[in-house]
């Protein structure tokens, strides 16, 4: 097969036919498809990058919000603690006042009871002293003298601070 003949021209012709056929049947759609795919991937990459950026921003915002919320919670807790302390102080003060009042009342009552007892005691002493004097002195004193003495005694006794 070393001799040349018209097969050479025929093979060039065949090749050109194949080239034209493939150019329109295969290469055009393949090139378009590859271009589409490249665009698609580039688009996807760009979108992913954009979304990543947005996610980063969102994350930072959430972190900031959370920090703010935490600070607010701290402030609320501190406020509540302060209010509680004040209330406790008030309650203690009220309790002290109440106890003082109760104590004063009790003292007053005691005073009153004491006076009452003194009065009763004084009456008893009068009767007893008259009886004792009567027993000691007996019949030597007339009723008139006796009456005067008793009156005097009572007066003196009334002046006594009991």
């Amino acid at each position: 097969m070393l001799e040349f003949n018209a097969t050479l021209i025929a093979q060039m012709f065949n090749f050109v036919i194949l080239l034209i056929f493939l150019r329109f049947v295969a290469y055009k759609p393949i090139a378009k498809l590859l271009k589409d795919r490249q665009d698609f991937i580039a688009n996807n990459v760009a979108t992913a990058e954009e979304e990543r950026k947005q996610a980063q921003e969102l994350r930072e915002q959430y972190l900031a919000d959370m920090q703010k919320a935490r600070e607010e919670a701290q402030a609320i807790i501190a406020q509540a603690a302060k209010v509680g302390e004040i209330q406790a102080q008030e309650i203690i003060a009220a309790a002290k006042e109440e106890s003082n009042r109760v104590k004063d009342n009790a003292l007053k009552e005691i005073e009153r009871e004491k006076e009452k007892a003194v009065r009763e005691l004084r009456d008893q002493v009068t009767v007893l002293s008259v009886a004792v004097a009567g027993k000691i002195i007996g019949q030597t004193i007339t009723p008139e003298i006796q009456h005067d003495m008793v009156q005097q005694f009572i007066r003196e006794a009334g002046d006594l601070p009991c």
Partner: protein, 246 residues
């Protein structure tokens, strides 16, 4: 066995491989065609076209099927070579379909010849010279198209008396391209016949078929390499002609 006897015994399809088709004469020049070469060339063209149609039918951008993936791989592979050589993307895109066709056509041709009873279109010097001449016309044409008058000026560089050397350089390109491809593929087929002819038939009953099978496997490798070499050299020649520095 004689080589021609082996070849004749393998001629399952009764190719008229000794004669030629005479299609008359133009002037004094006879129009003769090698029937076997043309038949396998048409077969190759049909296979390439079928592959292209199968690969590009129902194309999907996100879920390509296997044929589409294979075609895309070839297209991207040759596209990568072309883009390495031709940096201008517009020129590369305009040129790309030719090396891709070279690659697919030569690859299918080389592999087709390994099927028993068939022969490679590229085992005929007419085919390889035809393809190499296509390359030659292509780089001359593209040089003129992109560089206009500067294309012819470079034959006179660096000095005027370099003209014959430059012309020989350009002429040697299609010759080396065609003879390299023809020699590799034709030698592969001849050696296959030689191996088959050398082996006594009794050897086939005790594993003798391993030897030609190994050679067939190696020929697949050679076929791929030669298709690649032809494609990349054509691309390099064209890129030399259309680059601004030349």
């Amino acid at each position: 066995m004689d080589l021609h006897e082996v070849e004749e015994s393998l001629n399952f399809w009764h190719f008229p491989h000794t004669g030629a088709w005479h299609l008359g004469t133009v002037g004094n020049f006879p129009i003769d065609l090698n029937p076997k070469t043309l038949i396998v060339t048409w077969l190759t063209m049909i296979l390439v076209a079928a592959f292209a149609i199968v690969a590009t039918r129902n194309m999907s951008m996100k879920r390509p099927n296997s044929a589409q993936t294979a075609f895309e791989m070839v297209y991207n592979f040759v596209g990568g070579i072309v883009k390495e050589q031709i940096t201008d993307p517009i020129k590369a895109a305009a040129f790309l379909s030719i090396p891709v066709t070279f690659f697919i056509f030569i690859l299918f041709s080389n592999i087709l010849g390994l099927i028993p009873t068939l022969t490679s279109p590229t085992a005929d010097l007419n085919t390889t010279v035809g393809l190499a001449l296509t390359t030659f016309l292509l780089f001359e044409f593209m040089g003129i198209y992109y560089k206009r008058g500067k294309h012819f000026k470079h034959y006179l560089e660096p000095f005027v008396f370099f003209l014959p050397i430059n012309i020989i350089e350009d002429l040697s390109k299609p010759i080396t391209l065609s003879f390299r491809l023809y020699g590799n593929i034709y030698a592969g087929e001849v050696l296959l016949l030689v191996i088959l002819g050398l082996m006594p038939p009794v050897l086939n009953f005790c594993g003798g078929f391993v030897i030609p099978v190994v050679w067939l496997a190696y020929s697949i490798f050679v076929g791929c390499i030669q298709a690649f070499v032809f494609t990349i050299l054509s691309t390099v020649y064209v890129s030399q002609k259309i680059s601004d520095t030349h």
